[in-house]
Symmetry: C2
Subunit: 426 residues, 2 copies
């Protein structure tokens, strides 16, 4: 799934772009009852899609999770407020890239309301039926006048096949749009679910209930009970976006919104076996999108599953998984394709969890390179080194203390990450 | 104090090496009652000093702090055990680089005892009077036979002026030896204190009571009460080595040992005004060594003080300081000389501390670039950008919530860090 290692003279990221581009061009994403559109509004850069609109033709049940960062962007504050206090149905999501509308004070909220109101007017809906999301540079006011001019063309451009262009419009340092669809048969009804996502840096989502700037929007044609839909989304995010990390930095803007429009006309889903079916699809979809975010992460050349087993409890397993997944020394060793297991054990040891080093077992894929806390020898290490030459591999650390498990999806730390982020604003 | 930015074709690290080399060559470090020696034992590399010995001619009061990492190297386990159960006096410290003797199981402890016993025999002292420290690659057994052969030449090479060569012998990815001396006049006595330190990566010391692999050895000729000496060292480490970070990765081997030999024949120090005097010198010495570790950190081009003010309590101030100091996005912005204050606020917001973003004030040196949570404009940002071109600057974030403060000394994250750590073992 990961792009192959770059050939001389060709970066990984452009290789990824080539590969995914083909896929994006050969299929159009559609979901019954949803229309979408994207325009080049000139928010930060000229001549690229940067403003998108997702619309449900019916009032869609809305579920949402938002960053746990204490510093929240205006759209996150407005979104939390709206989901808490308004009816659980909306009609439209407006989203821009290039500017995060974060740390913009009262003006940020006012700008958001101005834009949402203009959109509602253009669409003949109520402003409370619009949510807005933003991603990009922190601390600059939105170019409201420029954006207002783009609203009418955005609305007039709505189409069944516009979802793919919104997936492009929300990209920042992403090199490829991230789109995924799932279908579920439920009695007589065929249910379709499509999700788009962006995020390549400042990725360690723990949104409430899960974190990143990652943004993801899920459109589904099922008819659902909104309370159950919110719970299902929270569980899905906990097992997907909340289990990835690129750089351990959690964004001010992370948001996942799921809209269910109901045009599949199934019996309203509110748990039970049909709930399980739909929730499984939602979990699959979000896990797929989450793994695409890691694979397209800034400077990423390796995608690595960190699995902690044999923990006393799940919180301890998660704490160790997250510490290993975010360790710069572990991540640079991944980049160097070096089975430097000492760094992995050292990272586990600083996770704030009691560890008995003499019980530790470590595997790279299926190759056991540490047993009872000591190395198993050169041969195993060589085999592990070979496994690490692949674009994807797993690291399994058994703590020998119990039966709880947890995993995180992480990546390596390359010089390309440094270049992207040292030069981001210039 | 920091090496100047590298000229084209010349890395920062070699520039630093040139600069410090001169200093090291023109002065010899001595402390009454201490002898030292270093040899080329061939532990990992040929033809470099890698085994050092520090000896007190009298039984020296010993104080020590060790890594809080749950995965502890054999020398750390042995050192903790010895300080807990043995009398608080020792005669010798044996230290090697190139091999951490960590994750080496029961064999690691047995090897350590073999080496300490051989040294004790050669010096006609008791093995319990010897402590050993190690730094280097994790997970490989010590080359005991090779090291045993080096013991006799090590002992025969002891001299008053050998401390500088031990400072060289303990270097790993360090580019310069780190040595610092302080003198204190106490009544009729002149007290001298010298410290050496190493550490350039896997640096986020939290040793118990403070963390890094950093190693530091302090030799002092004062006569001290060992219980007070231990407490004084713990406080000094808390305000120095425990307040630095290079990569947030805490080592399995971090150790600070302080030996007080007593040859200054002062009245035994056990607190009071004389204790304060000596403790101030100890704090100065450890802070000086700690800052040298950051300045010589792997790939470091900037040394940055992160100061959190206006916190509700000190724990919250420290949590925010540490999260900002370890954020990859903040550190790459430092490398890029980019006053990207949004990343600093975003990092503060994920520290697990309640924050009211509308109360935040941020300064780079004295330049206020954020007030009430929003940017103060282009002019201030430009001035901040200019300040960031220097090798050292400060970032002060006021939370507006109380009066507690904390600071951390950190560095930037450069492509050189990646290169050093992707290739460390190969």
């Amino acid at each position: 799934m990961l792009p192959v290692r770059a050939e001389a003279g060709k970066s990984i990221r452009s290789a990824a772009a080539d590969r995914y581009q083909i896929k994006t061009m050969t299929q159009k994403t559609t979901v019954r009852g949803f229309r979408a559109s994207a325009v080049k509004a000139g928010i930060k850069y000229r001549n690229r899609l940067d403003l998108g609109l997702l619309v449900s033709t019916s009032a869609a049940a809305i579920a949402g999770v938002f960053t746990r960062n204490q510093v929240k962007a205006a759209p996150v504050m407005a979104g939390i407020e709206r989901l808490k206090n308004g009816p659980p149905f909306i009609r439209a999501v407006l989203v821009n890239s290039g500017n995060a509308n974060a740390c913009t004070g009262p003006r940020g909220l006012a700008d958001l309301h101005t834009l949402c109101s203009r959109l509602a007017e253009e669409m003949d809906i109520d402003p409370s039926e619009v949510l807005m999301c933003s991603t990009g540079v922190i601390g600059e006011p939105l170019p409201v006048d420029t954006m207002l001019q783009a609203i009418a063309p955005l609305v007039s451009g709505l189409s069944r096949t516009g979802i793919d262009s919104v997936a492009e419009a929300i990209m920042t340092t992403d090199t490829v749009p991230k789109i995924c669809t799932k279908t579920v048969t439920m009695g007589d009804s065929n249910i379709t679910m499509a999700g788009i996502a962006k995020g390549a840096g400042m990725i360690a989502p723990t949104m409430d209930p899960p974190h990143a700037t990652m943004l993801s929007f899920i459109m589904c044609d099922a008819r659902v009970n909104p309370v159950w839909w919110q719970e299902a989304l929270e569980r899905a995010v906990e097992s997907s976006f909340n289990r990835i990390t690129i750089d351990g930095d959690t964004s001010t803007n992370d948001t996942v919104l799921a809209l269910a429009g109901g045009l599949a006309k199934n019996k309203t889903v509110c748990g039970g076996s049909e709930g399980d079916l739909l929730e499984d699809a939602l979990a699959d979809l979000t896990q797929d999108l989450a793994s695409r975010i890691v694979k397209d992460g800034e400077g990423v050349t390796k995608c690595v599953t960190i699995r902690i087993t044999g923990a006393e409890n799940r919180d301890q397993a998660m704490a160790v998984a997250r510490t290993v997944a975010d360790s710069p020394l572990v991540k640079t060793a991944f980049f160097g394709e070096d089975p430097n297991w000492g760094r992995i054990l050292a990272a586990a040891g600083r996770a704030g969890v009691p560890i008995r080093q003499e019980l530790l077992t470590l595997r790279i894929n299926e190759i056991e390179i540490v047993k009872n806390g000591v190395g198993t020898g050169r041969e195993a290490e060589c085999a592990a080194g070979t496994a690490m030459k692949k674009d994807e591999f797993s690291v399994t650390l058994d703590l020998g203390a119990g039966r709880a498990e947890a995993d995180m999806l992480t990546c390596d730390l390359s010089d390309e990450y440094i270049h992207i982020n040292a030069d981001y604003r210039t």
